[in-house]
Structure formats: C-alpha cells, structure tokens
C-alpha cells in the first residue's frame, strides 16, 4: 500500500517494495534500503544505504518534525493532508491558527464579491484581514468581535452557489 507524505510543501509517495532480505522502499523518485532503525525517546538513528543518520524527532497531531544535520524537516501526516476536503473548504472559512477576532466585516445573507473583507483576526500581535476568494453569500458568521478561537474553528460559513437564502 502506498503512503502519501507531504514534506517541505511537496507531496511525496512512499512504498515498501521488498521486506526480505532487507526492507526496500521507494520514496518519491528515490529507492533505498532501510538497514536498521533505532528510535529511543526523542532520538533516532537510521542506516539507509549504508549511511548512518542520527537526529531528533517528535510527533504532533498533524506532522512529524525531524531534526537532522542542522535542519528541521516537517513531514505532514497523510491524514492531515486530506483533512480539509475541497468541497468543505469552499463553503467554510476555518481558522488556520488560534487567535482573536478584531473585527467582523461581513453579515449574514450578505452577497460577497471576490476580494470583499470577511474578518480581521489577530494572532500573536499580528493582524490579518481575510478576504473572500470568490463570490458567495454569507450563511452564518460564527464569531463576534473579541471572540477567542482555536485552530480549525469555524469562522464563517457560506451558502452553496444557487442555494436560496
């Protein structure tokens, strides 16, 4: 079964091609042999094609972070990459990070044109104003000014094209 990974913003397919006599894999365009793997706590040591790699790692909800040779690699887990389906994303605006609502610029039933202001949010002293990516009608505004929200929280939902008010 192939695995889908996302590393450095690029989708990479990974596949086990043989288990015996040693574990062979294809990762993107690269074929390699994983000769040994030792993971103890937050440290790891792998031998791949005769080369030893030693570093640190941790796993979060969405991604695995790997520190190797002075560089941090963030490998998104396949589940996370598929979490937001295109259809849902079209109809909902969700928070990409936690923060607080500074201002609400849209109202229920408002017909928006692409580029219209939706919300001004603030996270870590940084303010950003979110704009409508395309024409849509506001179904509901789920937050009010000063509201604190978590990552993934539903902020604004939109009516489907053609849906009656």
């Amino acid at each position: 079964m192939p695995y889908r990974l996302r590393i450095g913003g690029r989708d990479v397919a990974a596949e086990i091609t043989a288990r015996r006599p040693q574990l062979l894999l294809r990762i993107g365009e690269v074929r390699c042999a994983l000769e040994s793997a030792r993971i103890a706590g937050d440290e790891f040591e792998l031998t791949v094609d005769g080369v030893r790699y030693r570093g640190y790692w941790c796993a979060g909800a969405d991604e695995v972070q790997v520190r190797l040779n002075g560089h941090t690699y963030r490998v998104e887990r396949p589940r996370a990459a598929l979490a937001a389906t295109a259809a849902a994303a079209d109809e909902e605006l969700r928070a990409s990070m936690p923060g607080v609502v500074v201002a609400v610029h849209c109202a229920v039933d408002q017909q928006l044109a692409a580029g219209d202001k939706l919300l001004t949010l603030e996270s870590m002293k940084l303010q950003m104003t979110l704009l409508a990516s395309h024409a849509a009608r506001v179904r509901q505004v789920h937050v009010a000014p000063q509201a604190v929200f978590e990552r993934g929280a539903l902020l604004v939902s939109f009516a489907r094209a053609g849906e009656e008010p």
Partner: protein
C-alpha cells in the same frame, strides 16, 4: 539595592532578570498566569504569585494586581522587563505612589519619549538631527502641501507608535489620504491615540542604536552601538555589536548625540536611543526606548557588563559604576531571535507545544531562553521563544559560531525560524556586512528553504516509522509487539 524584586514579565526576559537577581543574592518574585504555571520563570524565582485575568496577556498588564503581589511578598522594587508595562508612565507612577521602586526612568521621561512627536521635538532642541517631518492633521490641501515639501515616498507614523503599528508608506500624493486614515485607525486601536505624523522615508537605511545608562542627575555614559538593521515586519531578528563598517568618527558622533539627548532628559536607568543611518552617512533620531532592550546581550558580551545589575544599582540611587573611558568594546557579538513562526509563509506566527529542546553549549555562547519541554506556545503572547548569542574576536568568528550553534540547537514541537536564521548567517552579503533594513526582503529568494536530498529521505523514513500502520506493514509484526531494533516509542 533592593532586597527583593518582583518581575512583572514572563518568558526569556523574566529568566534573564532572575539570573542577575540570583547572582547578586537579591530575592525574586515571579508572577504568572494559570497557563504559565509550569513556565521556567516560575520555577526559577524564589516566590511566585499567580495573577487572575480573563485573558492571559491581560494579567501581565494588570497594574493593581502586580503592585498588590509586590506588597504581599515584601518586594521593594518592580522590574518591568520589556513589552507589557515597561514603557507605561502610568505604571511607573503607580509603583512609585505605592512606595515601591520602578526599575526604569521617571514617569515624566517615559511620557516624553513615548510620544514620538514630542520626543522628536525634544531631540531637535538638543541639536540631534531628526528626519524631515510634518504634522499629520489638518485640511487635505494643507496636508498635501506638507507632504510635497517632505517629498515622496514618505512614511505616516503613529505618535504613540512602535513595532511598525500605525505606520504606512506613501509612494505618491494620491495615496496620502488613505494612508493617513488607515494609520490613524490602527494607531487608535493599538495605542488609544490616533495622532499621526509624516516623515521622509530614507531609502535603504541602517538601524543603529546606542545603549545609554544615566544616573538621573544628567550624568550619562554610552555603551556603544548596536546594529539592528535585519528586520521583518518592522521587528528585529538579528542584532550585533559593534555595527560593522561604521567609520570611527561616525560612531563617535552617533554615540555623542545619544548621550546629549539622554543627559538633557536627565535620564535615569538604562535606555536606548535609536537612529536611522542613511546610505550617505547622515543619521537621524528615530526614538528612545526607555527600558531594557531585547538585544541588550550583545552589548553585555562586548563590554563584559551586566545591564540588569546596573539597572538595579541605578534604581537604588547609586551613581554610575563606570566612567566612559572605562568602557572598551572587545571583539564582536551577534544575537538572533528564535521565534515561533513560519519564515516560508511571510513569518506568520506559529503555535504548538515544545517537545524536544537541546541547547548547544560553548564558552563564547549564550542562550537566553524562557521555554521548557512540555510548554505550550500560545497566540496570547509575543512569538519570541529564546535568543542565541555568540561572541568572537571578529565578526566572522561570531557569525560562524552562531551559525554552528543554530545548527546544533534542537527545538521541536513548534515551527521556528532557526533554519532561516542559519541561512541568514551564511549569506554572503550578510557576511560582507552589506546591511540595511530592507535586507531580508531584498534577499528573500536566496534565504528561502532549499531542497532536501538524502536527508529529506531519511526524515521521511522517520515519519513513516512513527506510523503504526507502516511499522506493521514493514515488519509484519503485530502491535504491541512490533519491534524494529530498539524501537521504544
């Protein structure tokens, strides 16, 4: 000197102040919110008082609770650190009225320097150059005439401003009205003060600042300059001392201007006078920060001083502990700010939980941190996690050891700018000291993350091995008996 000091702050600066208090045998009181209960500054302090508030950042701004906490614990002085209430004249006044010592300048000086319009006028009176500027209020025709006199492009700035808030660049006359409106609105929101002014925009300037210490009687020494030109979103991310390629006469003139200003203000305690240095060599007063700066460690390393200890002495009424001629910089120091952010996405702040932390050690290396494993990085506070500072005989040496230390630093669980900073320290134009405040934007393409190669494949393998389904498929051993080597996840 006070016997016990309350630190009205958190994070790395609270830990930094605690270190000096401990070294001097002074008792320490930390304050914290429920969310910060396991933070290092709480553990490091002799005593800790929990603050109550509806939002975490509001707690550290609650003047009454902070003064009450000092009273309850017998602290005689309050160190505000930077940010939060450090430049609040009202807080300085309230602390003094409560019979406590505010470790910083007098409220009147904080108020003077906090109002950029008044501070600029004060600087000009002392013969310190300010960039051509004009008031930002009045009739449209008047404003247009003033703007034209300054010339385009120009900046609209907030009188109460800082950190780039309430600031707009205006390229042409047609943009003026919108920029004034937007800047005033932002200034009102951030500072509760909508006053703005117009200032000539200096192209590709350097940001040079001078550390000063004053005794409140007009005696002031400078502790030389810091180069702080590398900024993103108007916030510094890498600072150094001395400023590279600064001619000796220019250095002397800038430092003398800073001393003149601070002396005229009868400045007490530590402060920083910021200047813009134009490519032609003219320099202009920007503002004075009436507090300890984030980047103070580079000054400490090149001069072998402890600025927090000096602050405590001066707040206690002691005179300056050194004369100007006692101060001789040695070598070069560079600091970089380690922030929870995503450099690839326009430095967007990031959140997470610190899961792995390994700090490099070295004789010429300093790590000013305020985070621990298990701690959550929330959007409630500034994204600064820690500072890494290296000292060397030369700038090249300091840059090299800082870059090496960044590569050795392991901080996982929250996205950071560590790798970006390492790339910056390797950049040829950085090493050649061709610095200006637009550097990071001008070199954005070269500073972008490169491809992965064999290491990226190894990283992908680690991610796969972290997955139970993959381990099962790879080794055909059912969980929980899966075993690959010494797998002990």
């Amino acid at each position: 000197m006070p016997q016990r000091v309350l630190i009205a702050n958190r994070g790395e600066i609270a830990c930094r102040i605690l270190r000096t208090l401990r070294a001097l045998g002074i008792g320490s009181v930390a304050v914290y919110t429920f969310e910060d209960r396991s933070a290092p500054h709480v553990a490091l302090a002799d005593q800790a008082v929990r603050l109550e508030a509806h939002a975490p950042s509001a707690a550290y701004l609650d003047q009454a609770q902070l003064i009450d906490a000092a009273r309850r614990t017998g602290a005689e002085a309050i160190h505000p650190g930077y940010g939060f209430l450090a430049e609040s004249a009202a807080f300085a006044e309230r602390v003094a009225a409560a019979g406590l010592t505010f470790i910083g300048p007098d409220a009147a000086v904080i108020r003077l320097m906090g109002d950029k319009i008044r501070a600029r006028a004060f600087a000009a009176e002392q013969g310190v150059a300010v960039a051509p500027s004009a008031r930002g209020d009045g009739e449209p025709a008047e404003l247009a005439a003033r703007a034209a006199a300054i010339g385009f492009p120009l900046l609209v700035k907030a009188a109460a401003g800082g950190g780039g808030k309430g600031m707009r660049t205006v390229q042409a006359a047609a943009e003026l009205a919108d920029a004034l409106h937007a800047a005033a609105e932002e200034a009102q929101r951030y500072f509760g003060d909508a006053r703005v002014y117009l200032e000539r925009r200096i192209e590709t300037p350097r940001h040079i600042e001078v550390q000063v210490l004053g005794d409140g009687q007009g005696n002031v020494v400078h502790l030389f300059e810091r180069e702080c030109s590398l900024q993103r979103r108007y916030q510094k991310i890498l600072e150094e001392s001395p400023a590279p390629n600064l001619p000796a006469d220019k250095r002397a003139a800038i430092c003398a201007a800073a001393v003149r200003l601070a002396s005229a203000a009868r400045y007490r305690n530590a402060g920083t006078v910021e200047f813009m240095l134009a490519p032609g060599g003219e320099f202009y007063f920007l503002e004075m920060n009436t507090r300890l700066q984030v980047e103070h460690p580079v000054t400490e390393l090149v001069l072998d001083v402890d600025l927090v200890a000096e602050q405590l002495r001066l707040a206690g009424g002691a005179g300056l502990s050194f004369a100007q001629e006692d101060l001789q910089p040695r070598g070069h120091a560079i600091e970089c700010r380690i922030c929870a952010e995503e450099p690839q996405q326009d430095f967007r702040p990031a959140t997470g939980r610190v899961q792995v932390l390994r700090v490099p050690q070295g004789p010429q290396l300093r790590f000013d941190g305020g985070i621990g494993v298990g701690q959550t990085v929330t959007p409630a506070f500034d994204s600064l996690l820690a500072k890494l500072i290296a000292h060397g005989d030369t700038r090249g040496e300091a840059a090299h050891s800082l870059e090496r230390a960044l590569r050795d630093l392991v901080l996982l669980g929250v996205p950071t700018n560590i790798d970006y900073l390492a790339r910056l320290l390797r950049h040829p134009q950085f090493l050649a000291a061709e610095l200006h405040t637009g550097f990071l934007e001008a070199h954005a393409a070269e500073l972008r993350e490169g491809g992965g190669g064999a290491d990226a494949v190894a990283a992908a393998l680690v991610a796969l091995l972290a997955d139970v389904d993959f381990r099962r498929a790879a080794y055909e051993v059912p969980e929980p008996h899966a075993s690959i080597g010494e797998w002990r996840n």
